[in-house]
């Protein structure tokens, strides 16, 4: 018996011990957030209806990304459904790594998926992942502090107004910061925020020939504006703050304004968690009069890796999890504020949902984001807070590290931009774009 056969036999024995009681079991890799966890609680109903068992592998976002990327590139075949985002979907779809979702049932109503979401989850017009929930970013602000400052938040403010309001609301003695924004390194953390912000200042990552644009004045303007604002009105140590840190500050009443994911609205208005639940207002992410706002677009979506043995069952699950019926199921049991937002047009046409305080602003934010046309000047890439090319995650993580070093005062904004320019061009040259 060869070593290989021996190992395979041993493996078969181990695996045989672990299979569940169902004739068919699908394995789903997913991310740990409230909506996904809630769905796990309802999967028994899916199993009862279809006889298909479901195994969940829940991981933290960064671990999940590494795990599913390794699995799909090595054809590991560990998962029948993967939870991926708007960044991965078009790239993986183009590589033929995902099963196209072009034969979903009529009942499912693909046309009901919000166009911005469907667009970002497709390649060449074919849908490769079904959105479970979608988000954009918007301003959450303290209505009481705004009033104290004698200001009124417009529905669609400019950066100029935001800066003025932030400085007016700042009260260092009482530990109140006018504005809390992400500064933490990482392309999906501070990198996502500053890229979306730069769009409204007329900046872009690349010109149409894939040349880095960090040497252009629009980037210097973005970064200087951000650093000055945060130094005057931001919390101390903001260069290491991400979503969770800012959420914590806001919930404890230490931020006048916070521009971040629309999904945060349900946290900051929840009286069990937030000390300021009844004093939160919402507005569109700011612009600079150039025609682009600084909000992003993101979706957590379910996709089927090509090569799975259980394609039909996986499709059945996706149709169930991202259906109108699932939304109705959650609404019935846990109320409309807890349904997964941002995926379907019909949700925003439901009268009960329109009464949820942040519903309309979430929809308006999503609708105002256009991943195919994200910047003032034309770009060769798709994506608002990212460029959907495989090299982006690596490059943007390094660039955001340079930026965070500038926020922390370890280097000047000019130095950070110089380094970003050089490292981006080097990486793009090595990858064969230039």
């Amino acid at each position: 018996m060869s070593l290989r056969k021996l190992l395979a036999a041993a493996t078969a024995l181990t695996v045989a011990g672990g299979t569940g009681a169902f004739a068919q079991t699908i394995t789903i890799a997913t991310v740990n957030n409230g909506d996904m966890i809630r769905m796990q609680g309802y999967t028994d109903q899916f199993t009862e209806a279809t006889g298909i068992g479901v195994e969940w592998v829940t991981l933290e976002e960064n671990v999940l990304r590494q795990r599913v990327t390794t699995d799909i590139t090595t054809k590991g075949g560990q998962f029948d459904i993967m939870t991926i985002g708007m960044y991965e979907t078009p790239i993986w779809g183009a590589n033929g790594w995902l099963v196209p979702l072009d034969d979903l049932s009529d009942e499912y109503d693909v046309g009901d998926i919000l166009p911005a979401m469907a667009g970002g989850l497709s390649h060449d017009g074919t849908l490769y992942a079904a959105p479970f929930y979608g988000e954009s970013s918007m301003i959450m602000y303290r209505t009481d502090l705004m009033e104290q400052a004698g200001l009124e938040m417009p529905e669609a403010p400019t950066w100029e107004f935001i800066a003025e309001a932030a400085r007016a609301m700042t009260d260092r003695e009482n530990d109140i910061n006018g504005i809390c924004l992400r500064g933490k390194a990482g392309w999906g953390e501070g990198g996502a925020f500053i890229t979306a912000m730069s769009n409204s200042f007329g900046a872009r990552w690349f010109d149409e020939d894939w040349n880095a644009q960090f040497d252009q004045p629009a980037w210097a303007e973005t970064l200087n504006f951000y650093v000055n604002l945060m130094n005057d009105a931001g919390p101390p140590g903001y260069s290491t703050n991400g979503f969770n840190e800012n959420l914590s500050l806001f919930q404890q009443g230490k931020c006048g304004m916070w521009i971040d994911a629309t999904v945060a609205a349900s946290f900051v208005t929840n009286p069990d968690e937030s000390t300021v639940a009844d004093k939160v207002g919402f507005a569109l992410a700011p612009d600079n009069g150039l025609g682009k706002r600084s909000n992003w677009l993101w979706a957590w979506a379910l996709a089927i890796p090509a090569g799975t043995q259980q394609e039909a069952e996986a499709k059945q699950f996706i149709e169930w999890a991202t259906s109108k019926d699932y939304i109705a199921l959650v609404a019935e049991n846990e109320g409309w504020a807890n349904v997964p937002p941002g995926a379907r047009t019909s949700l925003y046409e439901t009268p009960e949902y329109q009464e949820v305080p942040f519903a309309q602003m979430t929809l308006d934010s999503i609708l105002s984001a256009d991943p195919n046309n994200p910047t003032v000047d034309p770009v060769p890439y798709v994506g608002i807070q990212f460029a959907a090319i495989p090299e982006f995650a690596g490059i943007a993580t390094e660039v955001s590290q340079e930026f965070s070093a500038a926020y922390a005062g370890q280097q000047s904004v000019e130095e950070a931009l110089e380094k970003a320019q050089a490292l981006t061009n080097d990486a793009m040259e090595a990858a064969g774009y230039r």
């Binding site: 290989r4 190992l7 395979a8 041993a10 493996t11 078969a12 181990t14 695996v15 672990g18 394995t27 890799a29 991310v31 740990n32 957030n33 409230g34 966890i37 796990q40 195994e55 969940w56 592998v57 829940t58 991981l59 933290e60 976002e61 960064n62 671990v63 590494q66 795990r67 390794t70 699995d71 590139t73 090595t74 054809k75 590991g76 075949g77 560990q78 998962f79 999906g188 953390e189 991400g242 979503f243 969770n244 959420l247 914590s248 919930q251 404890q252 230490k254 994911a261 999904v263 945060a264 946290f267 069990d272 968690e273």
Partner: protein
């Protein structure tokens, strides 16, 4: 006068030891404490220390959401299996290096250690491909093999250090009495090295228990140990620190208890030979 100085010095050393001990223990204490708070108390600033409404809610949520026993069982098998397999291979290896060294023994020892100097992620793809080829993904046996290989250099090094403290003449005497090689290792060397072997086993169980790169990257639903259990409670979008703390406490509890009961053995083993 001399006595006063020595009392003072003793007091100083004791205080220092307590300070260092508390400093090291604080993160564990804080995790355990947080696991009994509500999510809102978990992030409150200023932090609450003891006077809050203790709640078991997080534990019941974690229990409900995850099959803790399955993760625990996988951890036990993977940590225990990889350690035992490692010891079986390392005892003969360390014996030969300690008692019949060759010209190259020092180089081999150093070379073995050098495999620990490469960041694990550097071989993620090669290992993953091997696992795919041999159908080892998401199996306990696959993880037992990988963790054994990862910890093997440390096991060999530790055993080598202990074995060197044992006079070779005793083994020679056994040989003179006609003991075979197997008997010599099993009946003469091993009993003398028990403290060393025991502490090596304990340390390796702890290392394998806490290993959180390969156990996350090579498992899915079937073979995932407690590291994956913790990872499923960490969230970048949402503050679930109390639940994460409850999951962490449940994951470290078995190894903490094991460490507590075996601390004498552990300390004796780690300082073995130091006072000769």
């Amino acid at each position: 006068m001399a006595r006063a100085t020595s009392t003072q010095r003793k007091l100083g050393t004791t205080l220092l030891a307590w300070a260092v001990g508390l400093l090291i223990f604080f993160p564990i204490y804080w995790t355990i404490l947080t696991s009994f708070k509500t999510e809102a108390q978990a992030i409150s600033d200023p932090p609450v220390f003891l006077f809050f409404d203790w709640t078991l809610e997080n534990y019941s949520i974690v229990q409900e959401r995850s099959d803790y026993m399955r993760f625990l069982w996988n951890s036990v098998i993977i940590a225990g299996g990889s350690t035992l397999l490692g010891i079986l291979i390392a005892v003969p290896a360390a014996w030969s290096m300690a008692f019949v060294p060759s010209k190259r023994t020092k180089d081999i020892l150093l070379w073995m250690l050098s495999t620990k100097m490469l960041p694990a992620v550097g071989v993620l793809y090669p290992i993953s491909l091997i696992f795919v080829e041999f159908n080892l993904l998401d199996t306990r046996i696959g993880l037992v093999i990988v963790l054994m290989l990862i910890n093997l250099p440390i096991i060999v090094w530790m055993l080598y250090t202990y074995f060197r403290e044992i006079p070779g003449e005793i083994l020679e005497a056994a040989r003179m009495d006609g003991a075979s090689l197997g008997k010599e290792i099993l009946y003469v060397l091993t009993p003398m090295a028990v403290p060393g072997i025991a502490s090596t086993i304990l340390l390796n169980i702890i290392l394998a228990w806490n290993e959180a790169f390969w156990t996350l990257n090579l498992t899915a639903a079937n073979a995932a140990p407690l590291t994956a259990f913790i990872a499923s409670y960490s969230s970048p979008e949402g503050l679930f620190f109390a639940k994460l703390s409850a999951a962490s406490t449940m994951a470290i509890a078995p190894i903490l208890i094991l460490g507590w009961f075996s601390q004498k053995q552990l300390v004796r083993g780690l300082t073995f030979g130091a006072v000769k």
